[in-house]
Structure formats: structure tokens, C-alpha cells
């Protein structure tokens, strides 16, 4: 693959990754608002922004990476506890997050430069000066301008150099690359073969280098080995020999170790005594271990790191999970502590011995035993792990789904073929075999369909994620206080539904905060807590997914809604007088009704509710509303969990079969002929104190258009169907039962026909049209006469 193509692919894949990271950033920021010093959270934020920057730069988003760098600095300072995050910083970070999103989407980042610059300026005020400028300083580094100069370099790697995977020869080779080098290996450190440890390095090198590079540049080669190795870089010609350093600082280290051990003992007994999760203790424990480890590392002590790795992991898991430690975990920590104590003890002995002249054949210091393997395995199991996932192009998934759908339809051929073989050709044996084969394929097809459907299922979390931020922003603008509670974020819905439910939900949550929740003062006066509560909840019920938006705000006033609708001329005074409270609430779904006395830029111009309802209806879902004045409102959305298979009612009209989507049928009844009355050209009926216009399905096909009067049968099968303009009674010839259907689009030639959602293939291979109630009946209803929810 050439570089350009790779770059393009990387950009795409980074955009996808960044979307996740930005969402993560968003939610972490909001949590941070209530816990600005939470180390785990700070780390989460840092890691997200760090990855955005690093991977973004790799994918070629240079401006974005440079911008993200400033935010990263802020959180680096914060997680090092050199700075405390304030609400202003959170605001800035959220702004920065939005800008990053825009930078990734736009092709010309120049337009965003002023906005970015503003955020950077504002951030810089919080950063210590040296950090804020380090970015620009770095670009100046590494430009050695010395002319050619003679350097004498001595390099004696430490004996354990191989243990870091370093080949010292490669470093020498790097020196050669800098200029003219004369390399001499010094082999005088090599012991007699009998005493030689093949895992140790005994060699040293002298390199006379003539190079234009600066000393700093030469030193850089050794950056990874300079602490333990002996390295001298000099410009004169004096030959150099070296002596290894003394171990003086070891005693200081042992002092720190002793103090750490004591502190850890305290934490252990505190943990043993506590009956609930003690986050503060775990954090302090972790901090002490880390401080001790960095001291050990400075000392070149590697055993403590190996010993404490597990303990640190256990503590981090406990802190991150915010759960109480099991007794076993506590036992493991105690174990780690005992081993560490033993190690320190043996180091102390060695130290004393080393300060005296060593005996000729001192026994090697006892090494700490490795932790038992079963313990390691158990601890690994406890580590939380993300399940591996594959990102797939949506188009591929759709193709797979279409094919699975086709297969389900194609299997219908087998029973028909079997029937023909038996009936027409008298081959009942072969017929049965064909039928069996068909059954088998049928099972596989169903499994395949179920599997494909499950791939498409996505947790609603992705939609819910955006709401905490939104609620917070609205509250800030309107000086309200509200808490958003999310429940059931793991509830799964078809991806298409997820994508299309987002906008209606945004509207509803906005409305809940904007119109529902009162100002803190008003709430206090009404005897409610100052902070309002909005609950967004999703759960499964039968094959449906229910989403509820519930607020404890002002609620809706049916009388006011009626008045509004009258003022706007949306209903007649007679109709208004007939509405009870529940029906009056339904008025909110009328197009053109605005309930807020003042329009705000948050909820917009009342375009909300009617659009919300029709969007949800397009997803084959329903919307219901409950509200109590002074107590709040609840909107319940019922959605089919999957769009591919839907339930319907099969009916017959004019000897043709049609399917009504189940969610649009309120009720099916058989009414006696006498209950259907004629009024001028139209029919209507009264059922349970409601008046419905009656439409006869058969009349609306050109096949057999009604002339003047209908000869109704003795008993009329009627489906009460819900539309955006109210309910209608649809008369059919016969109910044929409930069916599960896969709705297939009818193709572009029929795209203009709104009366049908599509077609479906029945079990016996025949085709039935699936009615779209909105497209079919709404044009037939006179809105003035028939609005009666």
C-alpha cells in the first residue's frame, strides 16, 4: 500500500476512533465536575486526550494535534497533582473538545484557528510558564551546528545491559553513523571462562569520533543506558579509563524502604478492619507503593518492581471499580508486603556486608521466591478486560442483512416444490426429501437472521451519552439546577433505530429541562428540592424497547393547552369543550402548537412534539404522554427492538391480502351494521364514546371503487388505526390473523407511493402489501372534523 492510500485510510479510521474518545472525554468531564480531584478520572481524561493527540498526529491531523496538546498539558499537570481542575477549566476543555470534533470534520481548519487560539490563550493562564512554552522550545532542539570536531568517547555498558534488550554494538554503530569513527573494544573486563556469566556484558568501547554533531546529540544515543553505564564524551585527546560508582545512596534508599513498609503495614490493617470500600486508604496505599517504586528504580533495584506490579494492579482495580476488596485480594496484598519486607531485609544485609571488606566466597544473597503461579493466574482473571471487537463498514452489514432476508424468502420455494412433486408428479418420496431439506435450510436461515440481527443491535448508551452535557449546558444558560439520571444504557436497539431516535430524544430531553424544570427559586417556593430531576430510562418489554423521559418539573396544564389550541385556531371551541384532561394533553402533538409563553433558543419554536411523534411513528413506534400539573411529565416511547422483523395484522379486502403494522392498530372489533351511520357522503361510528370516521379499505383501490352506497355486512370487522391526525375506523372484509413480516422496500419505481411501507412475502410465497397508515389514511381525513384523540 502506498503512503497516500495509507494516510487516507488512517484518517478515516482515526475519525471513527476519535468519535469514541471524544464521547469518553465528554462523560469523564461531567463526572470530573463533581469529583475534580479523582485520580482515576483525571487519568481517563488524560489518556483520552493523549490518544487523540498522538494518533491524530499520526493520521495527519497536525493542527488538531497541536491544539489538543494544550489540553493534554492541563491534565498532565492535574494528574501530577500540580494543579486542581476548576469549573472554568472544564468549560474550556468542553469547548476544546467541540473544536477538536470540528477540526476533524472540516477540510479547512484555518477557519477554526481564531476559536482554537482563544481556547489556547485561556488555557495558558492556568499552566506554569515552562510547560506552556515547552512545545515551541522542543522544535528548537537537536539542531547541532558545531563544525567537525574530534570527540573521544568511552562507553562501558552496565553488566546487565542485555536485560533491557539492548545490543550495545548497535549503539556503537549509531556513533559510526555520526561521522568518522575509530572503534576500539576493551576486553580487559572479561573474566576467565569458568567465572563468566554469559548473561552479563563485560565489554567496553573507546570511540574516536570526528563529527559535526554536538555533544548533546551524541549523548542522546546513550539516553537509555546512560544511568547505569559509564559514558564519557570529551573533546580532548586524553585517554580515559573508568571505575564503577560506589553504592552510597543505597543506605538512603533502604531508609525510604523502611518507612514505606511501615506505612503499608498501617494500610493493610486498616483495610482488614474495614467493612466497606475504603477508597482513600487504597489511594494512599497506591501512592506510597509508587513513590517507593520510583525510588527503587532510581536505585536500579528491579526486584521491587516485579514484586509490586501485581499489588499496584490490584489496588488500581479496586480504586477504579470502587468496590470493596475481597478477603482474597487483601490476602494477596499482605503476601506482596511480606515478600517485599523479605527483599528489603536481604538488601540490608548485603549493604552491611558491602560496607565491610567482602569475605572471599560470600554466598549469593537469597533471592525472593517468585509468586506462586496459581496466584498470578487468579489475579489475571480479576483484571477487567475489554472484549475484542471488529469495526465493520455499515454497507457490508446491510448487504449481509439483505442476503439473510433473501434467504428467508427463498426458502419458501421448498414446500411449494415438495407439494408439486407430490401432487403433480406423484413423487411423494422425493417430495418429502425436498421438504426435509427445505426445513433444514429454513432452520439455518433463521439462525443466520438472528445472528445478523444481533450484530445490528447497539446499546442505547451511544445516544444517552450526549445528554448529560446537554442538560448541563441548558442549566448553565438558564440558571437552573437539574440532575440527569440515566438508566438501562445497555438496552439494545437496532442500529438504524438508534440513529433515528437520537433527534426525537434530544427534543424531549431539552423540553423536559427547558419547559419542565422550574427555576430553583420557583421550585423552592413550591416546596420541591432546588435541583430538578430528569430521568431517562430504557428497558425491554416483550419484543419492544421502552424509553421513558420523566421530569419532576412543572407539568403541563390541560386548560392552558386547550386555550392555546383555540387561540391558534387548531381546534373549534365545541371540540375543546369535549376534551377531557388526557385528551387535552394530546393537543401538544398538534403541529404548530407552542406551549412556552416565551420562545427560547433551547427548545426552538414549538416544532418539537408533532415532529417527534411522526419520527417515532416512522420507526414503527408510539409516543404517549402523562403529566400532572406541579408534579412533572412523563413521555413513554415504545419501539420495536428490531426493524427487520415486525408484527402485523393480516387482513383481506377485495380478495387481496394486506398487512397493518401492529403498532398502528389500537384495537380490532366487529361492529354490528346498525352502529355504522351515514352522514352525507361519509360514514362514521361511535365506539366506547368516541366518534370515528369509517373508511372501507376496499374502496380505496381502483379495482372496485365505491359508487354511492355501501352494502355493509351484518357484522363489520373494523380496525381502529392510529394516525397523526387522530384515529380512524378502517373496515375490512376479513381478519386473517397476526403475522410476523419482513418489510421489503418496493423499489425505486414505486418510491412515490406513500400509502404502503413496502411489501412482504408470506409463508406460502404470496406477496402482501404493508400499509403505511400515515400515508394511506391521513389524506383521507378531514382534520377539522375528525380531531378527536
Amino acid at each position: 500500500m502506498d503512503i497516500a492510500a495509507l494516510q487516507l485510510k488512517l484518517r478515516d479510521s482515526f475519525r471513527m476512533e476519535a468519535a469514541d474518545l471524544l464521547a469518553e472525554l465528554d462523560s469523564a468531564m461531567l463526572e470530573l465536575e463533581s469529583r475534580p480531584q479523582d485520580a482515576t478520572l483525571l487519568n481517563r481524561v488524560f489518556r483520552a486526550i493523549h490518544t487523540i493527540k498522538g494518533s491524530g498526529a499520526t493520521a495527519g491531523f497536525k493542527e488538531m494535534a497541536a491544539f489538543a496538546h494544550h489540553v493534554e498539558e492541563l491534565f498532565d499537570e492535574a494528574r501530577m497533582e500540580r494543579l486542581t481542575i476548576t469549573p472554568v477549566m472544564i468549560d474550556l476543555t468542553l469547548q476544546a473538545k467541540d473544536l477538536i470534533g470540528q477540526l476533524l470534520d472540516s477540510d479547512g481548519p484555518a477557519a477554526l484557528a481564531p476559536a482554537c487560539h482563544e481556547v489556547v490563550e485561556a488555557l495558558a493562564k492556568f499552566l506554569p510558564h515552562d510547560v506552556a512554552t515547552s512545545c515551541t522550545d522542543q522544535t528548537k532542539l537537536g539542531e547541532g551546528t558545531d563544525s567537525r570536531q574530534r570527540h573521544n568517547i568511552f562507553f562501558k555498558p552496565h553488566a546487565q545491559v542485555f536485560f533491557s534488550g539492548t545490543d550495545p554494538v548497535s549503539l556503537v554503530d549509531e556513533l559510526r553513523a555520526l561521522g568518522e569513527a575509530t572503534v576500539t573494544a576493551r576486553m580487559d573486563g572479561i573474566p576467565p571462562l569458568a567465572n563468566m556469566n554469559p548473561k552479563q556484558c563485560y565489554l567496553a568501547w573507546e570511540v574516536a569520533l570526528v563529527s559535526a554533531q554536538s555533544v548533546a546529540k551524541i549523548k542522546e544515543i546513550f539516553l537509555f543506558v546512560e544511568d547505569e553505564s559509564e559514558i564519557r564524551i570529551e573533546r580532548d585527546l586524553t585517554p580515559i579509563t573508568g571505575q564503577s560508582e560506589s553504592d552510597g545512596p543505597l543506605s538512603a534508599f533502604l531508609n525510604i524502604a523502611g518507612q514505606s513498609l511501615q506505612a503499608v503495614e498501617g494500610f493493610l490493617s486498616q483495610l482488614r478492619g474495614s467493612t466497606e470500600h475504603d477508597g482513600a486508604c487504597c489511594k494512599n496505599y497506591l501512592r506510597i507503593l509508587k513513590t517507593f517504586l520510583s525510588a527503587a528504580n532510581r536505585q536500579g533495584q528491579q526486584e521491587p518492581a516485579a514484586l509490586l506490579g501485581e499489588d499496584i494492579l490490584l489496588l488500581e482495580v479496586a480504586i477504579a471499580g470502587n468496590v470493596m476488596m475481597s478477603d482474597q485480594t487483601k490476602g494477596n496484598l499482605a503476601d506482596g508486603h511480606r515478600k517485599l519486607a523479605a527483599l528489603i531485609q536481604s538488601l540490608r544485609k548485603n549493604n552491611r556486608r558491602e560496607n565491610e571488606p567482602p569475605p572471599p566466597s560470600a554466598p549469593p544473597p537469597s533471592m525472593t521466591p517468585e509468586p506462586p503461579p496459581e496466584a498470578t493466574a487468579a489475579q489475571q482473571k480479576e483484571t477487567p478486560r475489554a472484549r475484542p471487537t471488529v469495526r465493520v463498514d455499515q454497507e457490508k452489514l446491510d448487504r449481509l442483512m439483505r442476503s439473510a432476508g433473501e434467504l428467508l424468502v427463498a426458502r419458501n420455494a421448498f414446500p411449494l416444490l415438495a407439494k408439486r412433486l407430490t401432487m403433480e408428479h406423484g413423487l411423494s418420496g422425493v417430495g418429502k426429501e425436498v421438504k426435509d431439506a427445505g426445513d433444514h435450510i429454513s432452520h439455518i436461515a433463521e439462525d443466520l437472521q438472528a445472528a445478523v440481527l444481533s450484530i445490528r443491535m447497539t446499546p442505547i448508551r451511544t445516544v444517552f451519552q450526549r445528554f448529560p452535557r446537554m442538560v448541563r449546558d441548558i442549566c448553565r444558560v438558564q440558571a437552573k439546577e437539574a440532575e440527569l439520571l440515566l438508566e438501562g444504557e445497555d438496552t439494545e436497539l437496532d442500529k438504524t433505530v438508534i440513529e433515528q431516535i437520537a433527534d426525537p430524544l434530544v427534543h424531549l430531553v431539552r423540553n423536559a429541562v427547558d419547559h419542565g424544570i422550574e427555576s430553583p427559586e420557583a421550585r423552592a417556593q413550591a416546596g420541591k428540592p432546588r435541583s430538578g430531576k430528569v430521568t431517562l430510562k430504557a428497558y425491554n418489554k416483550a419484543t419492544n424497547v421502552i424509553i421513558e423521559i420523566h421530569d419532576d418539573g412543572a407539568g403541563m396544564d390541560p386548560a392552558r393547552l386547550k386555550q392555546k389550541a383555540l387561540e391558534k385556531g387548531l381546534i373549534t371551541p365545541e371540540a375543546a369543550a369535549m376534551l377531557d384532561d388526557r385528551e387535552a394533553l394530546e393537543l401538544i402533538f398538534l403541529p404548530g402548537l407552542t406551549t412556552a409563553a416565551k420562545l427560547t433558543d433551547i427548545s426552538g419554536r414549538g416544532v418539537g412534539m408533532d415532529v417527534v411523534r411522526s419520527n417515532i411513528r416512522q420507526l414503527h413506534g408510539t409516543t404517549t404522554l402523562e403529566s400532572k400539573l406541579g408534579c412533572g411529565s412523563k413521555i413513554t416511547i415504545t419501539l420495536p427492538a428490531s426493524l427487520m422483523v415486525s408484527k402485523g395484522i393480516l387482513v383481506e379486502a377485495n380478495r387481496e391480502e394486506y398487512v397493518f403494522p401492529m403498532e398502528s392498530v389500537v384495537q380490532t372489533v366487529r361492529l354490528p351494521r346498525s352502529q355504522i351511520r351515514q352522514h352525507e357522503q361519509s360514514y362514521f361510528t361511535t365506539f366506547r364514546n368516541e366518534v370515528f370516521p369509517v373508511l372501507r379499505l376496499a374502496d380505496h383501490f381502483a379495482v372496485n371503487r365505491r359508487s354511492v352506497e355501501i352494502a355493509w355486512p351484518e357484522e363489520v370487522p373494523i380496525a381502529i388505526v392510529e394516525t397523526n391526525r387522530g384515529r380512524v375506523a378502517v373496515a375490512v372484509d376479513r381478519f386473517l390473523g397476526h403475522v410476523e413480516v419482513i418489510v421489503k422496500a418496493m423499489g425505486s419505481d414505486f418510491a412515490g407511493i406513500t400509502a404502503f411501507q413496502g411489501a412482504t412475502i408470506m409463508g406460502d410465497g404470496r406477496v402482501a402489501l404493508v400499509i403505511n397508515p400515515a400515508g394511506f389514511f391521513e389524506p383521507l381525513i378531514d382534520p377539522e372534523k375528525t380531531f378527536a384523540p
Binding site: 490518544t51 498522538g54 533491557s164 539492548t166 520510583s294 528491579q302 477487567p384 478486560r385 475484542p388
Partner: protein
């Protein structure tokens, strides 16, 4: 027999970039999304070089380096850290844990190949 290189990074973009480059140059590539994943996968097959990010969930690059060094099979295997800037403390920490070297992100494909060839000839 081509060498096997493991790229450990929680960023799919980074993994992809490294994978493409190395596969193109004829190496075997194994991807791991964090330290724990790397430990598991490196147990299942032999790895000749580890390239690891520093900041990762579960087990970070430095903890991973320590784990690998504690495994006899990977005592001497080169481990190269992928860092974002020349933060000396972090590098030193990585070095103390037993890392072999580092590459500063963002890097170009040629830079990556040069480093890989150096530690894994």
C-alpha cells in the same frame, strides 16, 4: 522466517499505521490493544520485538515491560516505547522497567522502519 513484531496500543489508528508499515516491509505483525492483551498474546506465540504505547488502560506500557522482563522467554527481547513527547521522566521509568528504546509519536513510516531494523535486524 520473518520476524514477529507486536504492536501494543489502545489506539486503533496507531495499530493500523504500524501494522500496515511493518506488514509492507515483510514482518509478521500481532496487534494487542492493551498490556493485558499483550501478555496473553505474547504467551501464545513468540514475539521478536514489542512496540508499546505508554498510556493504556488495564496494564500500561511500563507495567507491561516489567511483566515481559519477568518472563524468561522475553528477558532479552527488544521493547520499544511509543511516546508522544520527550518526557524524560516517563522514558526513564520505561528504561528502568527494562525497555530498549523509544520512538516519539508522531513518526513517519521510514522512521519506524529504521528503528525496527536497528533493534530487530
Amino acid at each position: 522466517m520473518p520476524k514477529t513484531i507486536m504492536i501494543v496500543d489502545d489506539s486503533a489508528t496507531m495499530r493500523q499505521m504500524v501494522s500496515f508499515t511493518l506488514l509492507d516491509a515483510g514482518y509478521n505483525v500481532v496487534e494487542a490493544q492493551d498490556g493485558v492483551d499483550a501478555v496473553t498474546k505474547s504467551g501464545a506465540q513468540n514475539v521478536d520485538l514489542f512496540l508499546t504505547d505508554l498510556n493504556m488502560p488495564n496494564l500500561d506500557g511500563i507495567q507491561l515491560t516489567r511483566r515481559l522482563r519477568a518472563t524468561p522467554r522475553y528477558e532479552f527481547t527488544p521493547i520499544v516505547l511509543l511516546t508522544t513527547e520527550s518526557q524524560k521522566e516517563r522514558k526513564m521509568e520505561g528504561k528502568a522497567a527494562g525497555a530498549t528504546g523509544w520512538i516519539v509519536k508522531p513518526f513517519q513510516t521510514e522512521q519506524l522502519l529504521a528503528v525496527v531494523k536497528k533493534v530487530c535486524p
